[in-house]
Subunit: 245 residues, 2 copies
């Protein structure tokens, strides 16, 4: 029986891959994924057989992966971060169910972008948080912004995935305006671009200044809650320990 692994390889640098992700890719007959991700892995595993498809072809990519597994191949379907968070795991199961494919599927978890970005900024995720994607390709914008509003009401730290793309601008600003109904415009906001990769960069700004920040599709934005502060260039959300002391 063919086996299909859905592998999250973490933020990008090989050092952030789990041992299991490395082993699965090393042993796979075929590695499939979005072209950008495949190109990252080709550097680390140059001798593998790769099948890459461009962006927006998620269903086709998953169908190809499932078909390879049906042919008794061991397949590693790769994506960055954690394959279980906005990744390919869901659609792989959906496609396999549709095809009634007699294959084994296993998800290999990885370090998600929120963790990678937080590690660069200091310790912003020490308390309850919401992870919200600003991509409205599959989700109505109204629902996305409702979720941002709910995070504001609940004083949750907010971690924004897919904050911008070339075609999609203005949503980060809209989210910031919503959160400023509940939080000070001085609230620290961390922006990390290419977290966990060799060309990583980051900055810490404020909710009020977020509209002037440089943000693109490779960025993750972490907006603090009412307790978050910055010190020595680090963004920290305390959890009460020091106070208790």
């Amino acid at each position: 029986m063919g086996k299909l692994y859905v592998v999250g390889f973490g933020p990008g640098g090989k050092e952030h891959m789990t041992q299991k992700a490395i082993d699965v890719i090393t042993q796979a007959d075929v590695v499939t994924g979005y072209t950008t991700y495949v190109n990252i892995l080709k550097e680390y595993f140059p001798d593998k057989k790769y099948i890459a498809t461009p962006m927006m072809q998620e269903v086709k990519r998953c169908e190809m992966a499932v078909e390879e597994a049906i042919k008794d191949q061991t397949v590693a379907m790769v994506s960055s971060g954690d394959s279980g968070i906005y990744g390919m795991a869901g659609i792989i199961y959906q496609v396999a169910d549709e095809k009634q494919a007699d294959i084994e599927i296993e998800t290999v978890p990885g370090v998600t972008a929120a963790s990678a970005a937080a590690s660069v900024l200091g310790a912003p995720l020490m308390h309850d948080f919401a992870v919200i994607s600003l991509s409205d390709l599959m989700t109505p914008l109204e629902l996305i912004m409702k979720r941002v509003d709910c995070a504001g009401v609940g004083d949750l730290i907010v971690c924004l995935y897919n904050p911008k793309s070339k075609k999609r601008t203005g949503y980060v600003e809209q989210a910031a305006d919503i959160l400023m109904k509940y939080r000070s415009d001085k609230m620290p906001v961390g922006i990390v671009r290419n977290a966990g990769r060799s060309d990583e960069s980051s900055c810490i700004t404020t909710l009020g200044e977020l509209k002037n920040a440089e943000i693109d599709m490779f960025s993750v934005v972490i907006i603090g809650n009412s307790q978050t502060y910055t010190k020595n260039g680090r963004m920290i959300t305390p959890r009460g320990y020091a106070v208790k002391r």
Copy 2:
């Protein structure tokens, strides 16, 4: 100058550690952490110098780690999951700031419990979600439940950390009652105990039946949103791809 790494070693199994976590622990002069975590790592790295402290001594543990680094030691302060999510990263920075310690601090991200649990259940975290800890040791219960309510309003998937302890019971049931104001009692709920460890176990139940489920302090609970379904024993939150097709 001493160096202090705050290392998340993932859910527990060595295969889920990142290469960087393995390298940092291998090269550290001293490994410090909560006794339970240190005992896990002793199996994988038997020849290290360990300093373990019991639960509830978080500040003391961090002070010891910072003091070792001040003595020019390379220290790995370890915790399970991701050290940046409810981990020790925040308090390490706080203690180092208080002591004005002239040391370098680096956080090494790991696979957080939400990712590990989701990989066991199927693909429940394909959409926006909230991570909420039910521990009221450092957070008023009222605020915790307000956050659960906000997640209900926003139709966020909810991932509960620290759902129960020996002394703290009834909070999961309270959270379920709040979410049932917004979601069907048939909504799938996944419970994973010891995710990513050799003695891992899991079950899928419903929001209405959650009060009858076996849950303890080693469990993570993932509550679906209005789109989540179960099929072939997997819990899936779709993202619209199949529909779009």
